[in-house]
Subunit: 384 residues, 2 copies
Amino acid sequence: MASVHALDVASSPVTVGPGVRGPALEEHLGRHGLTLGHLPQSWEFATMGGYAATRSAGQAATGVGRFDDLVAGLTLATPSRVLALGSPPASAAGPDLLGLALGSEGALGVITELTLRVRPEPRARHYEGWSFRSWEAGLAGLQRMARHDLLPDVVRLSDPDETRADLLTASGTGASLLRGSLRLRRRAAGCLLVVGWEGLPAAVRARQRAAASVLRGAGAVRLGARVGEAWRRHRYAAPYTRDSLLDAGLLVETLETAATWTALPTVHDAVREALRTRLGRRGKQPLVMSHVSHVYPTGASLYVTVLADRDDALPIQQWLAAERAATDALLAAGGTLTHHHAVGADHRPWLEREVGALGVDVLRAVKQRLDPRGICNPGVLLPD
Amino acid sequence: MASVHALDVASSPVTVGPGVRGPALEEHLGRHGLTLGHLPQSWEFATMGGYAATRSAGQAATGVGRFDDLVAGLTLATPSRVLALGSPPASAAGPDLLGLALGSEGALGVITELTLRVRPEPRARHYEGWSFRSWEAGLAGLQRMARHDLLPDVVRLSDPDETRADLLTASGTGASLLRGSLRLRRRAAGCLLVVGWEGLPAAVRARQRAAASVLRGAGAVRLGARVGEAWRRHRYAAPYTRDSLLDAGLLVETLETAATWTALPTVHDAVREALRTRLGRRGKQPLVMSHVSHVYPTGASLYVTVLADRDDALPIQQWLAAERAATDALLAAGGTLTHHHAVGADHRPWLEREVGALGVDVLRAVKQRLDPRGICNPGVLLPD
C-alpha cells in the first residue's frame, strides 16, 4: 500500500501504492532526478490515495497545481470487481471514467494503485515578491498573466488584511526593511504577491521577464527575491502556527472556494461579510484574511483564514454556524462549494446546490452499480 | 442552437448554442479581440456540440489542443430533466460530472448550451520546420521538450514515409530548394517536424529560443519559417486532397491512437505492419504514413494515413478488415482506442477492451438513470 511499484523513466509516469506519503515519494523520485511536486500544506502526512480521493490542490498553483492533473491512471477496487481507469497520455474513447474515481472519497471503492505524472527536478528556482496598490489591481494583474499564458508556477496574492498581518508578524531585519520600504512607497495598505518559477534556468529567466513586464504594466512594484524566499521557507508553517493560536484561546479556521474573475470580488466580499457578522463577539471584530493561490484563465481560487474571539462554551457550534453562513453566501455569489478539499461530511448538505438533484442521482446510480450494498465509506459525499 | 448567447470578456468564457460552427464563432470573437482557437481539419463544418460530444482534438496540439480542456460548463438535456455541469474555474466538489457529458456522443442526452474558454487573439505567430535524422531521434526530441514544459503550440512530427511523401508532393521553388538542401545534408530520409508558437511577441520569441536549444541538443537541423508557413497555409487541405485521390481509384483512410513514450514506437510498428499485411494487393504495397500531432509529458498521439490499391468490388469491407486488424494490433501494443474521434459505431466492439466490462457497466448505469427508455442516439458508444 505504501510502496513505489514501477517507475518508467522514459514516459515519466510512476506507479505507487495509495499509502505512499509525499516525503517518501519525493525521496524515491529524487534518486532518478525526478519530482512529483504536489505540495499542499498537509504533504508531510497526506497520502497519494488521499490526494486522489479528495481532488487535492497543491501549492505550486499553476505549475503542479491540481492533483487531478497528475493522475494518469488508477485502479479502484469496488465491491463489484476492480476498475482500471485512465489511458495515458489521453483518450477520446467515451466519457472520462477516471474523473469519476478522482474525488470519489472512498464512497465508490478503494483506490489500490495510482499511476502519476512526474517531471524532472527543477534545475533553477526563482521566487520573488511584488506589491499591488489594491486587491482589484492585483486580481487584474493575475488575470492578465493567465490570459496570456504567462502564469508562474507559484502565485499567491494576499488581500489587504492578509498582507497587513503578514507584514506585522514577519520578523528579522529583512522584514523591517520591507515594512519601511513599503511605507515610503505608500504601499503599506496594498496587496502582497508572491510568484515563483521552477525549471530549466533559461526558461525560468524568460518566463520571469515576460511576467515582470505584465506585472509592471498592471501597476505592481517589485519587492525582490528575499520576500519570495521567505514565503518558500515558511510554506508549511501555517498549520503549526494555528496550533499556537488555538492554545492562546483564539478560534482559527479556514475555508476555500473558487470563482470566475467576474464573480471573485463579490464572493470575497460576501464571505468576509458573513464571517464578520457571525464571529464578532463581545465587541471584538474577527480578522478575516484571504489570498488567491490557484489561477486559471477563467478565474481563481480564494483561501480564507479567520481569527476570532472563541466561545469556549460552544467552540464547535460557533464555527459551524459561521461556516454555514459563509458557505451559503459564497454559493449565492457564484463561488464553488470547494476548490481544495472535497465534499466530505462537512459539505454534504450543499452538494445538491452545486451539481443539482439529477447530478446527485447520477452519482447515486454509479455508487449503486459499484457498491450495491452501500458498504463503502458511508457518511461522505452523498447526502442521506 | 447556432447563436452566441453571452460573452464575459473579463472572465473570458463565452456561452454558445451547440450548433455554432467554428468560422461563425471565430468571426464573433474576433470583434472582441478573442479566439477559441480549436482548429481540427473539420472546423469549417463541425459544431461546438459535436466537438464536446466526441472529445475532439484540434491542430494546435499543445496550445489549444483537446476540446475537453476548453469546456468550462455545459447543459445536457436528458429524458430525466436537465443537467447543468461544470463549476468554473475548477472545483473539488465530488467526482467530475462534466467529464461524463464530454464524449457522451448523444447517448446520455442532448447538449443544449456550452460555456467555452476563449483567449486573446495572438499578436504574433511563428511557424518553422526542423529535420531529424530518424523517427527515434524525433520522438526523443519531442519528449524532452514535453518534460521541460517547452512544447510549442503546434507540434507535428512526420515519420520517414510521411516526410518523403510530403517532400515529393510539395510544389514551388521553395520546395525544390528544400529538397536539394536536405539531400546535401543527407537528411532526405529523415523526419520533418513542424512547430508553431502563438501569443505575445516577447513570449513567442522566448519560447521559440528555449525550444530551439532543446531541438538542437536532440540533433535536429532548422529548416526555417518557409516550411512552417507552408504547413500552416495548407492545414485544411488534406480532406480535399483525399477526395481527388478517391476519384483517382485509391483507397485513402486514416486512423489514430495515442500511447506512452515507451509504447509509441511499438504501436507505430504494429499499426504499419497490420495495414501493410491487409492492404497489399496485386503485388502493390500500400503507403502507410504517420505523424505525431499531440504531445504530452507521458506520451503522444499517432495519426496514420494509408493509401492503397482499392478493391472496387468490396471497397468498404476492404477497409473494415484492415481497420479491425490495425485496431487489434494497436490495442495489443498499448495504444488507446482513439485520441481524436470518440467511439461512435466503428469502435463500439472495442470499448470493453479499453475501459473493461465494469467500466462499460458504469456507463450503462449512468445511461439508465438519464435515459431509462434508451431513446438517445442508439447505436453509438455502448456495445449492444
